[in-house]
């Protein structure tokens, strides 16, 4: 993957916390998705996708989150998203109605508590 975005993994028991650091667009959304799926594996019960360090997320990135929500739902795994209030990407997520598909938390601890 180009250094446009990095995936930083942190395991909390059976919950995977993956932070997306950088920018996600049509050029790297597919690779980011593959990275997340590999990290998640079958053992994790839930994925907390931390978008706090995400400085740019376009429709390709947002579509990726929708798709992950569907895939994980089909496998009895849960997906929640962390977006700090007032973050630039919060508005684009609001526009696309992501909140209707996945739970959005203001910080990682709240998100982990929500899926534990």
């Amino acid at each position: 993957m180009s250094e446009l975005a990095r995936v930083l993994e942190d395991r909390r028991g059976e919950v995977l916390v993956a932070a997306l650091d950088g920018e996600v667009d049509a050029s790297n959304a597919a690779e980011v998705g593959e990275r997340l799926r590999r990290a998640l594996g079958n053992a994790s019960t839930a994925l907390v996708l931390d978008l706090s360090p995400t400085s740019y997320l376009d429709s390709a990135g947002i579509s990726l989150v929708f798709r992950l929500a569907e895939e994980l739902g089909a496998r009895q795994q849960r997906l929640v998203v962390v977006v700090p209030p007032g973050a630039p990407i919060a508005r684009t997520l609001q526009i696309t109605g992501l909140g209707g598909a996945v739970a959005i938390h203001p910080d990682v601890d709240a998100a982990v508590a929500g899926v534990a």
Binding site: D25, Y56, R67, I95
Partner: protein, 538 residues
């Protein structure tokens, strides 16, 4: 022993004539090897000898190598090598004196060729310049011959002049090589860095020697441009060779993505391994046009000068480390300085500010006072060189000025249809919006909307193959208008999780118009900066 009648000792007129033949000015224009051959031919004639040979000392080992010969041409063809001290030529070299052998049958020879060719008598003299041994010259006779004291003196006289000519030719040859190497090392086309204006000057201190001054400018990523200047201690071929390694190492470590202080530390460790000849001062800067800052690492080099868009000139305080190649344990720090769009950074070598008669501070102050002024960076460089780089300069001077010009308004850009350019388009648009004074929140929305239009142009608008699309942006009376044009047909992405691009654009901009025509698609996005941002999915 049959000895032929002694030749008449050369009269003074003959000596003069002989010397003139050896110091003939036209010899100076011959390439090194041709010069050696011509010298040996003339020596043969002057001494009426049957054979003559010239052997030069190897640069690194105590060996003599045959380089030119007359009557015994095989010496050179066979690559005859004589150890110092052994045989005839080896003895002449080791003892640094004239040696004559009247009868070869009695002598110990290393080189069988001399006997094979029927040489009976030999006279050899060392080639010396200021006491340094360059090699040996000898003449031979196929009939027994006793060389007279006058002939021995004449050959030594001729050899002294020949040695000077040979050394001069070798220096010229080395100089020519070093110049070619340096010319090759100083980048010719620095205008290839997009969005950067570059002007350079290189002024050698004298025609006789090439220095170790060097500059470079290259793009690491679309948001980072490196501009650097270095000064290798010493001159000539060795300094040019160090420069070559420095340049390659810097580019390689920079492209690997190391932070600038680490790039310099890695180059330092490499220079330490190359030995004491590799000591180099360096100033390495990274321009970030979008962030409008300049990161600087200094390794014992004079301070960079920044001229801001209002013409204020400032020498950056030196927080530098020691020169490269001095200690493998040296560490370097990176300092960040503001670099507003339209600023110029000037890097130079100390020859520009150091004179034989003045303290360094005076030169630096003169540079600071001279740099600002009318015209672009080419004019700036010309002004600086005229004022500071006088004819009596003691050292070489290299300077490089780099400026990031403001982006135009209206702005027109063209991009290849490759999704990897999306980040570059955003980078450029963010900078353009910042230069127009557009606030962060407005800028983010505009960048996202434009990104969606560009992604669509890349993903859907084309048949296979390389094509391009255009991004036009204009800001006027508090209104930003961005237009994305391509030569394909508009298609909204299909599928449940696709097709979010157009709704996002509509939600982020006050006006979105998609004009789909036979010859291509135009997406026109407008945002009124005085109105509140549009909200919700609309």
């Amino acid at each position: 022993m049959a000895v032929r009648p002694l030749p008449v000792p050369p009269a003074d007129g003959q000596v003069l004539g002989a010397l003139q033949r050896i110091t003939d000015a036209s010899l100076a224009y011959l390439p090194h090897d041709r010069l050696l051959e011509e010298l040996i031919a003339r020596v043969c004639e002057i001494l009426a000898a049957d054979t003559a040979a010239l052997l030069l000392l190897d640069e690194s080992r105590p060996l003599l190598r045959a380089r030119a010969a007359r009557g015994i041409e095989e010496e050179v063809e066979r690559g005859v090598v004589v150890p110092l001290g052994a045989g005839f030529a080896g003895r002449v070299a080791a003892e640094r004196r004239t040696i004559a052998i009247e009868d070869l049958d009695q002598a110990e020879l290393v080189n069988p060729l001399l006997r094979e060719r029927g040489i009976r008598s030999l006279l050899g003299v060392p080639l010396l310049v200021e006491g340094r041994l360059l090699g040996v010259m000898h003449v031979g006779s196929l009939t027994p011959r006793r060389f007279t004291p006058a002939e021995r003196d004449l050959l030594q006289l001729v050899a002294d002049r020949a040695a000077l000519a040979i050394e001069h030719a070798a220096l010229v040859e080395q100089q020519r090589l070093a110049e070619a190497l340096q010319r090759h090392l100083l980048p010719q086309d620095l205008h290839a860095v997009p969005g950067l204006e570059v002007a350079t000057r290189y002024l050698p201190a004298s025609r006789d020697r090439v220095g170790g001054d060097w500059y470079d400018a290259f793009e690491v990523t679309p948001g980072e441009i490196v501009v650097a200047v270095g000064d290798v201690v010493g001159h000539g071929l060795a300094a040019a060779a160090v420069m070559a390694q420095l340049r390659t190492a810097l580019r390689a470590y920079a492209v690997e993505g190391h932070p600038e202080a680490e790039v310099v530390e890695r180059v330092n460790r490499l220079m330490c391994e190359l030995g004491p000849d590799a000591t180099t001062t360096l100033v390495y800067t990274v321009i970030e046009p979008q962030a409008q800052r300049l990161r600087v690492v200094n390794a014992g080099h004079p301070p960079p000068l920044i001229v801001d868009p209002d013409g204020r000139a400032e020498l950056l305080p030196v927080q530098g480390g020691i020169p490269l190649g001095a200690s493998p344990l040296a560490f370097y720090r990176s300092d960040v300085h503001p670099f507003p769009t339209g600023s110029t950074v000037l890097l130079y070598t100390d020859g520009l500010v150091e004179t034989r008669t003045e303290p360094l501070d005076h030169g630096l102050e003169r540079l600071r006072a001279t740099a600002p002024g009318a015209g672009g960076i080419e004019t700036m460089c010309t002004r600086i060189v005229r004022r500071l780089a006088g004819e009596d300069r003691a050292d070489d001077v290299a300077l490089i000025a780099a400026r990031v010009p403001p982006l135009a308004n209206p702005l027109t850009t063209r991009w290849p249809t490759d999704s990897h350019v999306l980040a570059d388009v955003r980078q450029m648009l963010r900078r353009w919006l910042r230069e127009r004074g557009v606030g962060e929140a407005d800028a983010y929305d505009i960048v996202v909307a434009c990104g969606e239009a560009c992604a669509n142009a890349i993903e859907h608008a084309y048949r296979p193959g390389r094509h391009s699309f255009e991004v036009h942006a204009v800001e006027q009376d508090g209104r930003v208008r961005v237009e994305v044009r391509d030569r394909g047909r508009w298609r909204e992405a299909r599928g449940v999780n696709r097709g979010r691009g157009l709704p996002m654009m509509r939600a982020l901009m006050h006006s979105v118009v998609v004009e789909d025509a036979e010859d291509g698609t135009r997406v026109v996005l407008e945002r009124d900066l005085s109105r509140p941002a549009p909200v919700g999915p609309g």
